[in-house]
Symmetry: C2
Subunit: 332 residues, 2 copies
């Protein structure tokens, strides 16, 4: 059942080298011999042994992607895009879930390194030192996707988070809002950037920063309900809330409706990412990230580097899109 190249070579009356050349197209082989070899290959459904090949070519055509959590919508879609692109270029993708645990990440990477992957896509925001440890552990080409690590020299693909947040808030300003609260994920560069964009938009509109309108959630999902209550207790209640992630926006809308507020009737809510948006009522206005494009571009960038193509572009910024739906109303 399990034949090797020598067997096929014998059956076709040629040397193993010739079989290899036919299968890899690495050198001209006469049409007649080629046909003879291919016939035997098909007949026995022969496929070269992965390990023997890898041993000599030092390639596995396997890349890995490290994600904080494979099952959240955003990352699941990026991974899906990476997988698709990779398959088109004859690569397979190993996923590693790390649940935000750096120790687990290192262990995962050791594991991955042992599997001798050709490259790594990182979807998980690491500190510069963590990234350095990673590079030390597994010495392969790496690409960051939708992750900002300021000091890092690794190539990356993503959007301009600050500008996008700024665009979102500018939109809210344009339709007449003045008291705009902001909800952000604390402890992540991405959150910091989006907050910076929010602040810049307000500053450029001549509105001075109001700390009581800013909420920082501890984790990326969910935030303190008390923070929201405090927001609503303010005498100068905000008329709109910019949420730095759709998950935050969904929680926000639910909390607001649970408290008897109407969205967008009483309060407008703006999201970020464009996941979940269509299932929700009201349909969420949000910053649409080109998720599939990010995944595809990250994959291409990585594979180009693996295959030694020169890759001039280091930080790739893809365009976001301000997507207006039903969750924000114009002030009159």
């Amino acid at each position: 059942m399990d034949h090797n190249i020598k067997f096929i070579a014998q059956r076709a009356g040629v040397s193993p080298a010739t079989v290899s050349r036919v299968l890899n197209g690495t050198k001209r082989v006469s049409a007649e011999v080629t046909e003879r070899v291919l016939r035997e290959v098909q007949k026995y459904n022969y496929r070269p042994n992965f390990h023997a090949r890898g041993l000599i070519t030092r390639k596995s055509n396997l890349i890995a992607v490290i994600a904080p959590n494979v099952s959240d919508a955003f990352h699941a879609r990026i991974i899906s895009a990476i997988t698709r692109r990779a398959a088109e270029r004859d690569y397979n993708v190993i996923v590693a879930n790390i649940y935000g645990d750096f120790q687990r990440q290192l262990r995962s990477c050791a594991l991955l390194a042992e599997r001798s992957i050709d490259g790594l896509v990182i979807l998980h925001e690491n500190t510069e030192e963590e990234l350095a440890a990673l590079v030390r552990e597994v010495d392969v080409p790496m690409v960051l996707a939708s992750v900002n690590v300021p000091g890092s020299l690794l190539p990356s693909v993503g959007i301009d988070d600050e500008q996008a947040a700024c665009d979102a808030v500018n939109y809210l300003l344009r339709i007449g809002h003045r008291k705009i609260a902001g909800v952000f994920c604390a402890g992540q560069t991405m959150g910091v950037l989006r907050k910076a964009g929010y602040l810049r938009a307000l500053r450029e509109a001549g509105i001075k920063k109001a700390d009581e309108l800013i909420v920082e959630s501890e984790t990326s999902m969910g935030f303190g309900e008390e923070a929201i209550r405090a927001l609503l207790r303010l005498e100068a209640r905000p008329t709109a809330v910019f949420c730095a992630a759709d998950e935050l926006a969904v929680d926000m809308i639910n909390l607001l409706t649970d408290h008897g507020y109407r969205v967008p009737g009483d309060i407008s809510v703006f999201g970020f990412d464009d996941v979940n948006a269509t299932q929700l009522r009201p349909r969420l206005s949000t910053i649409a990230q080109p998720i599939e494009a990010i995944g595809g571009a990250a994959c291409d960038l990585l594979l180009d580097r693996i295959e030694g193509k020169c890759v001039p572009l280091v930080k790739q910024i893809l365009p976001h899109r301000l997507t207006v739906r039903d969750s924000c109303r114009a002030m009159d």
Copy 2:
């Protein structure tokens, strides 16, 4: 930078065989020698070459999971669970997205076969013939997770879909509903089973089948809006709708609210799967699948088979849970 076992052996003053034995614990080695070897291993951050090892052991510690779509919530969570369990047992997971395209699936599997994976978890519902083709293409242990292929002899893990659907409809009956519509995914065994459960519950309650209350959606996501309109135009309008998937339930609720109906005020909606449920308002009553348990069990089953442990249990049925939230109201 890239050392091999011979180098480490020289540094430690032993033979390659001894280094191998120390690292694999495959034979007793004296404490002194062990320490000497480990010191060199750490010093040079040595890790055995994956391919050389695989070439001789005929193992890769790589399993693959084939999913219709990695990015839908249900499969993303199963994959997450599989990945986690696999990592605990020192395996990595390759994901293959096939988007319901059997040709793509075969190609993917050829790709995977070339990578010499140790096993396969199938999340995608195949026909018996497709499964047979798969087995022919890639000859490794396989497990079905949350997929029903009636004729297949492959081990599987999942819930009792028919019973679960029956439980759901019984619940609706218990709280007083009599006109209960059903929305199902056509063309899948899972949909057929859930429909059978729906019909059984009605039959056992002495309610005769009403074809006009049954809607079959073409794809697993989304369904014809006209079908719903037809449902609502009925003079004997249903008071509850059992949807055979949460996605269907979400669409249903949105359509109903868009048409001015209240859920659950005017019409109750019941879901299946328990994904999406908490973000939604009203919070969706649904059949909760033990998704993480299914993924974990499928992984364990597969790895046990790979490692040659005897696996007596062939079809593993895990308990589902009827989860009552806010989307169904009792009839008075």
